[in-house]
């Protein structure tokens, strides 16, 4: 089985204030990334608890790319809270046999299209390389 041929399914979590327009900006520039990426829109990813992320993996996603506002968030203290939470998510992921590189917390601004696409491509590759083989067998 060759990990490189499989296109992992990625959930992209965006924010209204920053990354959703940022992902739009990649479209305006006609940049390309994997078609197996599915975007949802939130006010701030701080709303999701550890279980929620685990449920997303259980539903069949191979990677979660969290495009937050970073420290530019319109809300106080949320980025720090997400960062701490993702550390716990990674511990739980390990218990399930998942690799830490299958989740990424990052910041995407409204015009950071190139940065976003570069990073998403690298992430997609990383996930394909490091994800457990059993999922690929589907």
């Amino acid at each position: 089985m060759n990990n490189n041929e499989y296109e992992p399914r990625i959930l992209i979590i965006t924010t209204d204030a920053c990354s959703y327009p940022g992902v739009d900006n990649a479209g305006q520039k006609h940049l390309h990334y994997s078609t197996k990426t599915y975007t949802i829109r939130t006010l701030d990813p701080v709303i999701f608890d550890v279980d929620w992320y685990i449920e997303v993996f259980k539903a069949g996603y191979d990677g979660i790319y969290i495009a937050s506002c970073g420290t530019d968030s319109p809300y106080i203290g949320t980025f720090e809270k997400i960062s701490k939470r993702i550390e716990i998510v990674i511990k739980e992921m390990k218990k399930m046999g998942l690799h830490f590189s299958q989740i990424k917390l990052t910041a995407v601004c409204t015009v950071c299209a190139d940065h976003f696409v570069r990073e998403l491509k690298a992430f997609t590759k990383d996930v394909a390389k490091n994800m457990p083989v059993k999922v690929i067998a589907q």
């Binding site: 204030a17 920053c18 327009p21 900006n25 305006q28 520039k29 530019d72 601004c109 950071c112 299209a113």
Partner: protein, 441 residues
Amino acid sequence: MTELDYDALIIGGGIGGIQTAIDLGDMGHKVLMIERRVSTGGAMIQLSKVFPTLDCGSCITTPKMSSAFNHAMVTTKTMAEFQSFTEQSDDTFEVEILQRSRFVDLDACSGCNECADACPVIVLDEGYDESLGYTKAVGVPFATALPQKAALDIDNCIYCGKCANVCPTDAIHFEMRDEIQKFKVGAIIIATGFYQTPIKENYGGGRFKNVITGLQMERLLSPTGPTLGIFRPSDSKIPWSIAFVQCAGSRDKSIGVPYCSSICCMFAIKQAILASASAVMAEITIYNIDIRAFGKGYDVFYETARNMGINFVKGKVALIEELENKDTRLHIEVLGRDGNKKLVEHDLTVLSMGVVPQWDEHMSKELPVALNSNKFVDEIRLLSDPGITSIPGVFAVGTATGPKDIVDTIVSGSAIAGKVSLWLKGELRDRFLMKELQVVM
């Protein structure tokens, strides 16, 4: 009283005009905002990041642009210029607006930009990209432009018709013409912002490719810029050493700008910080007389820059020369400890240009508000009633009255909206007409 088309006319769709429009709209007034360029957003939408928070510039501009543009009480006209006004006896104005032709039907255009892909004409982008990038003769002006609709640049168009052929909504109309539109309004707000001073002759007068302005540097640093990184204009080389020259067009009586432009110390420091992240190996020096980091949290920003290894040298740059390899050589009168005059060489030199008003004597012929000694619109009640000009019912906001940073421009937008609202209510007349100017200003 005459039936008004709009309670207020705002001349200028930069951040100052936008804030005034939003606040007047929120107070229940019907507003017309006109913008000379193809998009609203002014100088702020061109910025890479803003000091001292290093927020992405477009990220914090676009929400304001869109809330003005989509406001139920605000009508926005782009490519529209103020022409003339007539004062009516009942404290209202009749104004004439020149609506320049866009050659694109705004209602029909879906912003898909296929016209730009089809257009064979490549044009130097003198607006958004400050002559560092290229654009097409037709298309949506830039990614965050509002309205997000195409415009056709008739001066550069070769009338090949390719754009009209590919346009899925038949939105392109070559037969469109400029027109004069007349409106009755209750107040006029000048929000025309600033220009950068031209590059001085002793700095090359604009002929040296690697001597660029502060706004050009913004475009080089911007994620939406023409280069996506700092590459110097002459040869696209990543610069090894960058000079910032402060007061390149301010605090200089010889060019008629005796005042301090207020914003350039901070934006040079910001650009230096951003440049050190983009061109990691570059040595960066800021030549200055005083560093004026006076706003809230600004001095810490300056301190951060010093701790990052950015050099601050006290000195006046007397002359800039261009070397054969296009490097720039600066003649500096060093004020500091290590001696007198010095010659230094840098790959790229960024000039902190002065801030001069777009509303100039020429504009004042059509709408004769008094100007102050620095040639900005005079606020005749400077200390108590900001924005009040010498003509009752005419107000000025943002950098039209003097150099201001973004924060102060936004505050002035809200402040003047409040004053305009009072005027429309029939108040404030006495404040405009008070005789004893010296007693209470």
